[in-house]
């Protein structure tokens, strides 16, 4: 496993708190750094604040206190539309536009950014190949695709304008285990030669350990710890140990049942 060393900070949270419109404190005094080119996994239960953390990066939400910095600039001070266009965004429900063909979905950001049509066509073909989809799918609508294909289109769409950063919110959460495994493998293959800065949200320990350069464990709006996957399995922190235990319990019980 190649660990990414400190080759520049891409995203930084400085004492970030977020209070929801209903007055609930979702995040409290979060501090973290995401390095350029690494896959930074936010792991935690539902409601632990992972998705909120992600949305603070592309300013779908704004911090109630503290500062979020992307590429050395506070997000509060930059044009939000420009910020979002240089950050790819993939969500669990994919959010493909149902009335757009695959081609128009993938070409969305390049088109609003005013690329020439030739270049867009070329880019779409290149991306389809990259995410392992057949070229003739371009004229299909999302409803005509399988769940795995839709998710691939979602990834292609996020990569379209070649953003340096990718935010992924449980992108493989709703897929069946085999398709998920396949997409996780493809993700690793892609990341090996794209070296994007990826912030990846999941509640699946196995997925976190498999994909992450580093895994950040969150609980109740706080960052518990940030560890490399190898350290994670050995860590003594009770929260981490609980996750590891739950993870291993699944494997053990399956093994035991085989022995009965």
């Amino acid at each position: 496993m190649d660990r990414v060393s400190t080759n520049g900070v891409a995203i930084e949270f400085r004492d970030v708190s977020y209070v929801s419109p209903t007055g609930q404190e979702v995040l409290s005094r979060l501090n973290l750094e995401v390095f350029r080119g690494e896959t930074f996994v936010l792991l935690g239960r539902s409601g632990s604040g992972k998705t909120t953390t992600l949305k603070l990066i592309n300013r779908l939400l704004s911090p109630s206190a503290g500062e979020v910095r992307v590429d050395d600039a506070a997000t509060a001070g930059v044009d939000v539309i420009a910020l979002r266009r240089r950050i790819g965004y993939v969500i669990q429900d994919v959010g493909l536009f149902p009335h757009f063909t695959v081609e128009r979905n993938i070409a969305l950001v390049p088109r609003i950014a005013g690329w020439a049509e030739d270049r867009i066509r070329e880019r779409v073909q290149e991306l389809l190949q990259l995410v392992g989809l057949e070229p003739q799918l371009v004229s299909r609508y999302p409803r005509q695709l399988s769940g795995g294909q839709r998710q691939r289109v979602g990834v292609a769409r996020a990569l379209a304008a070649d953003p340096a950063t990718l935010l992924m919110d449980e992108p493989f959460g709703s897929l069946d285990p085999l398709t998920r495994d396949e997409l996780q493998r493809e993700f690793l293959r892609l990341q090996q030669h794209l070296h994007k800065t990826v912030v990846f949200v999941t509640h699946d320990v196995g997925e976190a350990l498999r994909l992450g350069s580093r895994v950040a464990l969150m609980e109740a709006g706080r960052l518990v710890t940030v560890l490399a996957p190898q350290e994670f399995l050995r860590a003594s922190d009770p929260w981490v140990a609980a996750y590891v235990k739950a993870f291993k319990a699944g494997l053990d019980s399956a093994a035991n049942r085989g022995r009965e």
């Binding site: 539309i81 790819g88 969500i91 959010g95 536009f97 009335h99 969305l108 609003i112 996020a158």
Partner: protein
């Protein structure tokens, strides 16, 4: 003299009143679309305004049409001509289905789709025109359809204040206790309503996403 004979012999007048009727319905629907759809868009994005706007449109809807014509009569400029009055009243009645359906249509767009669009850097305007409206279009159109059908029916009452339309036959028939005359107004009006309903229904189906 049967109804068919009457229609043939008076085809000039039947045609004229039908066209008048269409004009009242067409202009008022157009105005209602121009006001109602933007209002629906506004309240879909600013939920605070949702209740007062929908409540007002609802209240208008409950005013009996003859009473509304009466209320509007003293208004300057509008009160001068019966067709202006009729158009205003019909516009007001058509607002509710348009506002409500635009609101429902936009709120019904899958939040994941809107979120993804926003996250990728679409401006509010791009989100509205490329995502929300295209996905809401069939719901909005079904609002137009309801509005038109209501208007075709209501426009017959416009004849009571002298605005013309097929209601002329109906009111004349009522005054003269002549069923044929009533039917000469009612049947073309019903046919117009059916025609509008079917053609807009067809369009709605064509434009429905998925």
């Amino acid at each position: 003299m049967n109804l068919f004979q009457f229609m043939v012999e008076n085809h000039d007048q039947v045609l004229e009143l039908t066209l008048e009727h269409l004009w009242l319905v067409g202009i008022s629907t157009l105005l209602a679309v121009l006001i109602g759809i933007p209002l629906g868009i506004v309240i879909a994005h600013w939920p605070v305004l949702n209740k007062p706007v929908l409540a007002s449109a609802n209240i208008i809807q409950t005013i009996p049409s003859l009473a509304l014509f009466g209320f509007l009569l003293p208004l300057p400029w509008l009160g001068e001509r019966a067709d202006r009055l009729a158009i205003l009243a019909l516009t007001l009645y058509a607002l509710l289905p348009l506002i409500r359906n635009t609101y429902t249509g936009i709120r019904g767009v899958d939040p994941a789709v809107v979120e993804a669009g926003r996250g990728m850097g679409l401006t509010d305007r791009q989100l509205l025109f490329q995502v929300e409206l295209p996905l809401a279009v069939s719901v909005i159109l079904s609002g137009v359809r309801v509005a038109v059908v209501i208007s075709v029916g209501l426009a017959t009452i416009a004849a009571a204040i002298g605005a013309g339309g097929l209601g002329e036959f109906i009111f004349r028939g009522l005054a003269m206790v002549n069923n044929q005359l009533i039917l000469a107004g009612a049947i073309p009006a019903a046919a117009l309503a059916l025609l509008a309903d079917t053609s807009l229904g067809w369009l709605e189906k064509r434009l429905r996403p998925q």
